[in-house]
């Protein structure tokens, strides 16, 4: 009888799960990086125009979004296809802009940042200027003058 006996079962050893956390973390990080937090559901269809002289909008918390475009098919049956303004999650009229801006300013942690706030206008290229001008006038009325017309980079398309 030998002193050193082979012990344990002779079956296949279990696959180690030591690396499972790594894989899970990797997936987690991947999705954290790729997903873009969209705080509002898009109710209008928007395809932005192309431009070349673009400037990046840096601080996300200082940017307020105004969307203008035709309602998506789900809402088009009720609202028609005329361009609409969307603020946050809802359809809005130009007269609601001052209220929306006041809300956005209230959200600021530091009132000193008020001057740095920008209104990003994401407007469909087919939209007529009439509605855009109305929005611009409302913004000017509440002295919110920094505006950015969002556009895609024309250089990338070529």
């Amino acid at each position: 009888m030998s002193k050193f006996k082979k012990k344990g079962s002779k079956g296949a050893p279990g696959i180690t799960t030591a690396s499972l956390p790594d894989i899970v973390f990797m997936l987690l990080f991947f999705f954290m990086v790729v997903t873009k937090m969209r705080d509002s559901e898009m109710k209008v269809k928007i395809q932005v125009p192309a431009a070349t002289e673009l400037q990046k909008l840096e601080k996300k918390s200082l940017v307020s979004h105004v969307y203008i475009g035709s309602p998506i098919p789900k809402y088009a049956a009720v609202l028609g296809t005329a361009p609409r303004i969307q603020l946050n999650d809802q359809f809005a009229t130009p007269s609601q802009i001052p209220f929306f801006i006041a809300n956005e300013i209230e959200k600021l942690s530091n009132p000193k940042l008020r001057k740095a706030m920008t209104c990003a206008m994401r407007v469909d290229k087919e939209v007529k200027m009439g509605i855009v001008t109305e929005v611009k006038t409302e913004l000017r009325k509440v002295n919110f003058r920094k505006v950015s017309y969002l556009a895609s980079d024309a250089g990338e398309l070529e």
């Binding site: 696959i15 990797m26 990080f29 002289e53 290229k125 939209v127 009439g130 920094k146 950015s148 969002l150």
Partner: protein, 179 residues
């Protein structure tokens, strides 16, 4: 007779593979950032001030009608992309042509659009005008400081912008073509 043990799979390198993938995705994916044309709107006034009689030669007017047709300084302009060149010649005239601007400091760009103008056209025109100024700033920066405008300090940029100020005035839109 003892069965032979299956060798255990070495999982030590799994973590390395995982990190490799992680880093690969980190490098290749770009977080989408919004970018656009930055504009400072004029302050709101109840009554639009009476049009100041400015010297006509210093105004580069661009009119866009409801059919997206252009009128640049009173002349029809079928090609949007030529605005940039026209604006540059206008701004850098420095008094040579009696019909063009006296100096870059006095040059004013005026845009008048119709309510029926498409947003795309408006942005294209605005982009062209901005491109004209960006090019002039770049050239002036190369000349004065020997560096690209992007690499200048804030003070140097201000100096250049003082020399060639960007003045784009937007009149209240007309409503010539309904619909």
């Amino acid at each position: 007779m003892a069965k032979r043990d299956l060798p255990e799979i070495n999982a030590g390198s799994m973590a390395d593979i995982a990190f490799l993938l992680l880093i690969f995705f980190l490098v290749t994916t770009t977080i989408q950032t919004d970018s656009g044309l930055s504009v400072l709107l004029p302050p709101y006034v109840e009554e639009p001030p009476p049009p100041v009689e400015k010297n006509k030669r210093n105004v580069f007017s661009v009119q866009i009608n409801g059919n997206n047709e252009l009128l640049v300084r009173g002349k029809q302009c079928p090609d949007v992309l030529s605005i940039k060149e026209k604006a540059i010649t206008f701004i850098t005239n420095r008094g040579k042509d009696p019909n063009s601007s006296e100096s870059p400091k006095k040059a004013i760009i005026s845009i008048l659009n119709d309510n029926g103008t498409s947003y795309e056209m408006y942005v294209t025109v605005y982009n062209q005008l901005k491109a004209a100024y960006n090019q002039l700033w770049e050239e002036s920066s190369k000349e004065q400081f020997g560096r690209s405008y992007k690499d200048l300090t804030k003070k140097e940029r201000q100096a250049i912008r003082k020399e060639i100020p960007l003045v784009i005035s937007e009149a209240e839109p007309s409503d010539l073509l309904k619909g």
